[in-house]
């Protein structure tokens, strides 16, 4: 998540290589939405929880695409799950701002016995997802938890894998993957940046 928090993105001038343009992101999300429906045989029990910051708009877009083909309301599908207070690296960074957790109002804001699909922009070490699983634990007991990410860049540090992947992107440890979304950054793009192996890459 949060690929541009630790490092300031370049002002406007695009740097690095663009690996996904707006149209590619749109196609990937459409495919993921259909894969989710196929795997879960409909949207009956689904809850899509986006991990702030950029997982949240992605979850909302997936929900909107699902609502186009299934008789459900997008607002009843998507919510947000803040994992800040569950992270294991809090003491290694300056204090992080806490985000918003909001479960969809349908089913009395409960995730018990439903299928939760976590949505994030980049899957890297897997530590964000571990924190998300802990956070879910405190909210209820889902029947199953699945993971959808826009980009899987490898370098996992935990036994965690994504069920739905927009694009597998082999990267070097020192490279930075920057996901930008229209809702927050004004543009949809995924860029890969750097190669300066300063080790300070985004999670």
């Amino acid at each position: 998540m949060d690929t541009s928090v630790a490092s300031t993105p370049p002002p406007d001038g695009p740097s690095g290589t663009e690996v996904l343009a707006a149209a590619d992101i749109s196609r990937a999300l459409t495919r993921i939405a259909h894969e989710i429906l196929e795997r879960n045989k409909g949207a009956g029990d689904l809850v899509l929880l986006g991990i702030p910051t950029r997982g949240l708009p992605l979850a909302q877009r997936l929900a909107a695409r699902i609502a186009e083909v299934e008789p459900v309301d997008a607002a009843d599908l998507a919510g947000s799950l803040d994992v800040t207070m569950y992270r294991d690296d809090l003491h290694r960074h300056p204090t992080r701002t806490i985000g918003h957790t909001e479960l969809p109002a349908a089913h009395g804001q409960s995730i018990d016995d439903r299928v939760v699909v976590l949505v994030d922009d980049v899957l890297f070490s897997g530590r964000t997802i571990r924190a998300a699983l802990d956070a879910l634990n405190d909210l209820g007991r889902p029947r199953a938890v699945q993971l959808a990410v826009l980009v899987d860049r490898g370098h996992r540090e935990l036994p965690i894998r994504a069920d739905y992947v927009g694009k597998n992107l082999p990267t070097a440890q020192g490279e930075k993957v920057r996901v930008r979304v229209i809702e927050i950054d004004g543009v949809d793009s995924v860029r890969i940046d750097g190669g300066r192996s300063n080790g300070g890459s985004a999670s």
Partner: protein, 330 residues
């Protein structure tokens, strides 16, 4: 931010950020499982040299909800009664491995001394020192005012991201002995609110003219003409007023009845307030003295809510002081 000693240490952005964090914390306290793993392995010491119920319980609850270990220390029944100095007590706590010390002390400036002396390397949080400061009380008051009076903010959360610009708050009563009043004047003004202190001349501190607020001796005028958005009544701190003469007279006012008639918040004054105005009290209340039972139990009184908000605010303070990287401090 490493210590929280003084409400004046917070600028507007830091204060709004802290209140926003408190708002996020409050949201987690509505869940079935209220405990968060955030401060697992950290140790918070409550070092209380002065009696306290709600502040100590509130800090203890806040630390436990964030999974920190809590050690409670009260001067009674400790080595302090054998004559141990603050320095030695603090260094003992340091040797035990405390990460934060929450201190309440009867001497103004004791928390500052602890933080600035280099005796200990922990974070120091002021939980009330003498008649000086009580910053977390001011923060929870500001948080309560913001939730009720500023309308919906971002994410639909009441007040999120906002300050208190344009609000008028009347603080009534024993300002002289009140650390709550001093911290509130500083914090509420920082957040853009206008504060009027209302008290008899004997209960206003020397030099109050230099504070960033208005003062008045007449509660009815302030309520009638000033149309405050909130009235905060302060406890009359009779334990700090010396011996009482017959009938409850002190050196500061002739009789409790006269005080109540002139400065007590009763049903009549409650009706004079604007419809949206709320009533706050830092507790513990002297019912029938500074606040009548009608006022304390009315739907406008948010006194119990202040207590719940206190936990969220103190969780936010502990999170902001303790969760981040430590290396930066040294």
């Amino acid at each position: 931010m490493r210590h929280l000693l003084d409400a004046a240490d917070l600028d507007r952005d830091a204060a709004v950020d802290l209140l926003d964090t408190a708002s996020r914390m409050a949201a987690t306290q509505e869940r079935e499982i209220k405990k968060l793993p955030t401060l697992r392995g950290r140790t918070v010491v409550n070092l209380f040299f002065e009696d306290s119920t709600r502040t100590r319980i509130s800090f203890e609850t806040a630390a436990k909800r964030l999974s920190a270990d809590v050690i409670n220390f009260s001067a009674k029944g400790s080595s302090v009664s054998k004559g141990e100095s603050l320095k030695d007590t603090a260094q003992t706590l340091q040797a035990i491995g405390a990460d934060a010390v929450v201190i309440r002390h009867q001497a103004s400036g004791a928390p500052h001394r602890l933080a600035a002396s280099g005796w200990v390397a922990t974070s120091v949080i002021n939980a009330g020192d003498g008649t000086h400061q009580h910053p977390t009380q001011a923060l929870l008051d500001a948080y309560t005012l913001r939730r009720h009076l500023t309308g919906p903010g971002s994410d639909g959360e009441p007040g999120l991201g906002k300050d208190l610009s344009g609000l008028h708050v009347a603080i009534v009563g024993d300002v002289l002995h009140s650390r709550v009043a001093r911290s509130n004047v500083q914090l509420l003004t920082t957040l853009g609110a206008r504060v009027t202190l209302v008290a008899p001349p004997t209960l206003l501190p020397v030099g109050v003219g230099a504070w960033d607020c208005a003062t008045s001796y007449h509660l009815d005028e302030v309520i009638g003409d000033g149309a405050p958005d909130a009235v905060m009544t302060l406890r009359v701190q009779r334990e700090r007023m010396g011996a009482e003469a017959e009938g409850g007279a002190t050196g500061f006012f002739p009789s409790p009845l006269e005080y109540t008639r002139t400065y007590g918040l009763d049903a009549r004054r409650l009706r004079m307030l604007p419809d949206h105005a709320i009533v706050l009290h830092p507790g513990p209340m002297n019912r029938g003295l500074e606040i009548s039972a009608e006022a304390a139990d009315s739907s406008r009184a948010v006194i119990r809510e202040q207590v719940s908000n206190g936990v969220a605010v103190r969780m936010a303070v502990l999170y902001l002081l303790l969760a981040g990287e430590k290396e930066k401090w040294s």
